[in-house]
C-alpha cells in the first residue's frame, strides 16, 4: 500500500483497466513520429543545458554544462607534486577502474602473460556493472544472427555508431556469453540448457540473457572472484588523477591518489587502460541517477587532458523507468525487464499511451511528454510520474513470475510497503548512461599511443542511443578486447623513459588563452552530497 491515500485511489483506476490493457497490442511509432517526439521532449535537445568547449581536442563541440566545467577544470596536482623517477608501482598494463570492463581487461591481460594491475577509487565491483539488472544481449538463438543484432544496435543508435565497433560488439557477443558461462556465471536456462531470453526495447529478436534481475551483479561478482584467484593486484580506494606520458607523448602510467589519506603515488606502466565508467553522478539537467556513487566522468577528464578525443559526449541516456516514488529510492533503476515481461506504461487515466518496448530515448521522451504537454502524469511531492503496471506481469504469466524473474525489484519496493505484484509503481526518467565517451578504434586504442579505453567511458559503440543489454555486453567484449590489445602492445614496448606531466601546464595555458580560469577540482572523484551546515 502507498502511504499517500490518493495514490492508492489512483492505482485502482489502473487496476480497473488492467484486463483491457493487457489484451492491447499498442502500435509502434513511425520513424517520423519518433524524430518529432525526441526533438520536442528528449533532454539531449535542450540546447541551454550544453556548453561549447573552448579548449582541448574537442574545441568547438558541445557537451553537457556540468561536464564542460570538469573538462575545462583545474588539475588536482602540479607536476612538481610528485617524483616520477621513483614510481610506487611498476607494471605492464595499468587498468584504471574496477568495474566489468576493468576486470575483464585484467583477466585477459593476465591470460596473455602480461603483468596487469587494477587501481580503483572505491572497491573492485563498485561499478555500474554491478547494478545492471535486466540482462545482456547476444544473438545465439537459431532465429537470430549477429547481422540482425547489428541492425538493431545501429538503428537504435540512430545510425551514428562506428560500424567496426558495432561489428565487434555483435560478432563477439556469443563468445562473451560462453566465456562468462565458463567462468561460472549462472544464466537463466531451461532444463535442456536453452537460454531463457526476452526482448528489450528496440530488439527485433528475443536475445536478452539474464541472471534473474541480478544479471550485472552475477557477472561482476564472478569476474571479481576470478581477478582475485589469479592474484592480479587490486589497489582499492585509490583514484587516478592524471595520466603520465613519456618523452614521446605515449601513455606511461598515472598519478594516483589515496582516497583516504590523500597521499599521491606514481604508477608506471607500458600501456594504460581507462575503464572508469560513466557520469550519472554529475546529475545533468538536475536529473536523479541510477548510477553508482563513483560515476563522475573521471576517465573522460584524464583522457581529454592528454589529448584523447571525445565522441558523442553530448548524448546521454535517460532510462525511461527510474523510480518516481517513494523518496528513498527516487531515481533508482526499475529494470527494463519489467516491460520485457509484459508490464505496460499507463497514465493517470489508466490508459496505455505507448508501446512499452520502444527504444529508451523514445520511451523517456514519451513519458516526459505525458507528464508535461499532455498533463496526464501522476503528481506526487517528488514531481510527476507515470504508472508502470507491474501486476500485469502476473496477470499475463501467472502467479510467482515476479518473485522468480525480478526478485530485486520486488525487494526494493517491498521495503517501502509497495507490493509490486499487486500494485503498479510510479516511474519517471533517470540519468542512466553516457552514450558517448573517449573515441576508440576497434582495438580499444584512443588517439594517444599506448592509451586504451573500454566500457562506458568509451564512445562510438552505441551511436546516440544504447539498447538495453548492449552495455553489459560492451563491458565484456571491449573490456576483454582492451586487455588483449594492451597486453600485446605492452610486450612490444620498452620500459618507458622520460616520464612527464608537462601536459598539465600545457593545458592550463590553453585554458588561460581561452579566457577560462576555473577553481573546479577535476576529476571530481566523488559527488558532494554532505549537507553543508547553515
Amino acid at each position: 500500500m502507498y502511504k499517500v491515500e490518493k495514490l492508492n485511489e489512483l492505482a485502482k483506476v489502473v487496476a480497473a483497466k488492467r484486463a483491457d490493457n493487457a489484451a492491447l497490442e499498442p502500435r509502434r511509432m513511425t520513424a517520423d513520429e519518433k524524430d518529432t517526439l525526441l526533438a520536442s521532449f528528449h533532454p539531449d535537445y535542450k540546447q541551454d543545458e550544453f556548453t561549447v568547449l573552448t579548449a582541448g581536442v574537442n574545441k568547438g563541440d558541445k557537451v553537457p554544462t556540468q561536464l564542460a566545467a570538469l573538462l575545462q577544470g583545474k588539475s588536482r596536482i602540479s607536476a612538481s607534486d610528485v617524483d616520477l623517477s621513483k614510481p610506487d608501482y611498476v607494471t605492464d598494463v595499468l587498468i584504471i577502474g574496477g568495474g566489468g570492463a576493468g576486470a575483464s581487461a585484467a583477466i585477459e591481460a593476465d591470460e596473455a602473460g602480461a603483468k596487469a594491475m587494477i587501481v580503483t577509487k572505491l572497491r573492485i565491483g563498485d561499478a555500474n556493472t554491478m547494478m545492471a539488472e535486466g540482462g545482456i544481449q547476444a544473438a545465439d538463438k537459431p532465429n537470430d544472427s549477429p547481422a540482425i543484432h547489428y541492425l538493431d544496435a545501429f538503428g537504435g543508435g540512430h545510425f551514428a555508431a562506428k560500424p567496426e565497433l558495432v561489428k565487434k560488439l555483435v560478432t563477439k557477443a556469443p563468445e562473451a556469453i560462453q566465456w562468462l558461462n565458463k567462468l561460472g556465471v549462472e544464466f537463466d536456462k531451461e532444463a535442456d540448457g536453452t537460454m531463457v531470453t526476452t526482448h528489450g526495447g528496440g530488439t527485433s529478436r528475443k536475445r536478452m540473457h539474464a541472471a534473474k534481475d541480478y544479471s550485472g551483479a552475477e557477472i561482476m561478482r564472478t569476474l571479481r572472484d576470478e581477478v582475485l584467484n589469479r592474484g592480479i593486484p587490486v589497489v582499492d580506494f585509490t583514484a587516478a588523477v592524471e595520466i603520465i606520458l613519456d618523452k614521446n607523448g605515449k601513455a606511461a602510467g598515472a598519478v594516483l591518489m589515496n582516497m583516504e589519506t590523500k597521499e599521491l603515488l606514481v604508477a608506471k606502466a607500458k600501456t594504460v587502460i581507462i575503464a572508469t565508467g560513466g557520469a550519472g553522478r554529475l546529475h545533468y539537467q538536475g536529473f536523479p541517477t541510477s548510477n553508482h556513487y563513483g560515476a563522475t566522468a573521471d576517465g573522460l577528464i584524464l583522457g581529454y587532458r592528454v589529448g584523447a578525443k571525445l565522441l558523442y559526449a553530448d548524448t546521454l541516456q535517460y532510462h525511461p523507468t527510474g523510480t518516481g516514488y517513494p523518496e528513498q529510492i527516487f531515481g533508482a533503476l526499475v529494470t527494463e525487464k519489467v516491460r520485457s515481461l509484459g508490464a505496460k506504461l499507463v497514465n493517470i487515466d489508466g490508459d496505455v499511451f505507448m508501446h512499452p518496448l520502444e527504444t529508451r530515448d523514445v520511451t523517456a521522451a514519451s513519458i516526459i511528454r505525458e507528464c508535461t504537454e499532455r498533463g496526464k502524469g501522476v503528481e506526487t511531492d517528488l514531481g510527476k510520474a507515470v504508472w508502470l503496471d507491474t501486476p500485469m506481469i502476473e496477470y499475463k504469466n501467472g502467479e510467482g513470475t515476479i518473485e522468480k524473474r525480478i526478485p530485486a525489484m520486488m525487494r526494493m519496493f517491498g521495503k517501502y510497503g509497495i507490493d509490486i505484484r499487486k500494485e503498479p509503481i510510479l516511474v519517471y526518467p533517470t540519468l542512466h548512461y553516457q552514450n558517448g565517451g573517449l573515441d576508440i578504434s576497434d582495438d580499444c586504442a584512443t588517439g594517444v599511443e599506448n592509451l586504451y579505453a573500454a566500457g562506458e567511458v568509451a564512445g562510438g559503440i552505441h551511436g546516440r542511443n544504447r539498447l538495453m543489454g548492449n552495455s553489459l555486453l560492451d563491458v565484456i567484449v571491449f573490456g576483454r578486447n582492451a586487455g588483449i590489445y594492451a597486453a600485446a602492445k605492452a610486450k612490444e614496448t620498452a620500459e618507458p623513459e622520460g616520464l612527464t606531466l608537462e601536459h598539465i601546464e600545457r593545458f592550463n595555458k590553453e585554458l588561460a588563452a581561452a579566457g577560462i580560469s576555473s577553481e573546479t577540482a577535476s576529476p571530481m572523484l566523488l559527488p558532494h552530497y554532505a549537507r553543508k551546515s547553515k
Partner: protein, 227 residues
C-alpha cells in the same frame, strides 16, 4: 522543519528528517562518505550496517542505502569485514563434496545458531545455504544464496568463523560452470561465428552504414520484429 527524529551515528546523537535512509541521514549530518558507500541501490554490499533500537535487545543487519532511519536508532557502519576468500583455479576443481571440505572446512563447524540468517541484509536463509554447501548440493546452495550482495554482516555474527558469502560464491561458480545444463545453441553459434558464416552479411551492413544510410534506415524501419 518537518518531522525530525533522533539517530545515533557511532553513538553520537543527530536530529535528521524522518524518511531518510541511514546513508542519506549520514550525509544530512554532514558526512562526506568515501567508505561504506557504493552503488546506493542495494546491489554492491558496500554499506553493510548494524543497528539496534535503544532499549531493545535485538541487533539488526542492513544496507544503509536501503533502510529508513527510525527514532532512537543506534547505527554503526561496517564498511569492511575481513572475509576469508580461498584461492582456487576454477578449471582445476570439480563440483564434488571434497572441494568445499578442502577450501572452506570451517562450514562443518556450524553450530546451527542461525545468527547468520537473522543478520542477513537480503533476508536470505543463510544457514540453509551453508547446509547445502556442507552436503555438496551446490545447485541448491547457488539458488538459495543467489541474491547475496556479499556485504559480510552474516560472517560478523558467526561463532564458527565462516565466510558465508565466499562459500556461496564458490557454489554459484561451480553450479554455473559444471552443474547447470550446457547450452547447445550457444556453442553452435560461437562455432558459426568462428567459421565466418556471418562475415559477408555483416560486411554488407557495414558498407551500407557508410555509403547508403537511406537504405539501412529503410531496412531498420521495416525489419520484422519477433512477437
Amino acid at each position: 522543519m518537518d518531522n525530525m527524529i533522533n539517530v545515533y551515528l557511532f553513538g553520537k546523537k543527530y536530529q535528521v528528517p524522518a524518511g531518510l535512509t541511514i546513508m542519506t541521514a549520514m550525509e544530512y549530518a554532514g558526512y562526506e562518505l568515501v567508505r561504506g558507500c557504493g552503488c546506493r541501490n542495494g546491489f554492491c554490499g558496500a554499506c553493510a550496517t548494524i543497528y539496534r533500537i535503544k532499549g531493545e535487545s535485538q541487533l539488526h543487519g542492513c544496507l544503509a542505502c536501503q533502510t529508513e532511519v527510525q527514532e532512537n536508532m543506534y547505527v554503526a557502519t561496517l564498511p569492511f569485514f575481513p572475509l576469508e576468500k580461498k584461492i582456487y583455479n576454477i578449471e582445476d576443481i570439480k563440483p564434488d563434496q571434497q572441494v568445499m571440505m578442502q577450501l572452506y572446512p570451517e562450514i562443518y563447524a556450524c553450530v546451527g545458531c542461525n545468527a547468520c540468517t537473522k543478520a542477513c541484509t537480503q533476508e536470505l536463509n543463510v544457514m540453509q545455504y551453508i547446509a547445502y554447501a556442507q552436503r555438496g548440493e551446490y545447485d541448491k546452495c547457488a539458488e538459495e544464496s543467489f541474491d547475496c550482495v556479499m556485504c559480510g554482516v552474516c560472517s560478523s555474527r558467526c561463532p564458527a568463523g565462516i565466510s558465508h558469502p565466499q562459500v556461496a560464491m564458490l557454489a554459484r561458480r561451480l553450479n554455473g560452470k559444471y552443474i547447470a545444463p550446457e547450452c547447445g545453441h550457444l556453442n553452435d553459434r560461437v562455432n558459426e561465428v568462428n567459421e565466418g558464416i556471418f562475415d559477408e552479411k555483416i560486411k554488407e551492413l557495414m558498407t551500407k552504414s557508410v555509403d547508403d544510410i537511406e537504405e539501412i534506415k529503410a531496412m531498420y524501419n521495416s525489419r520484422e520484429i519477433e512477437k
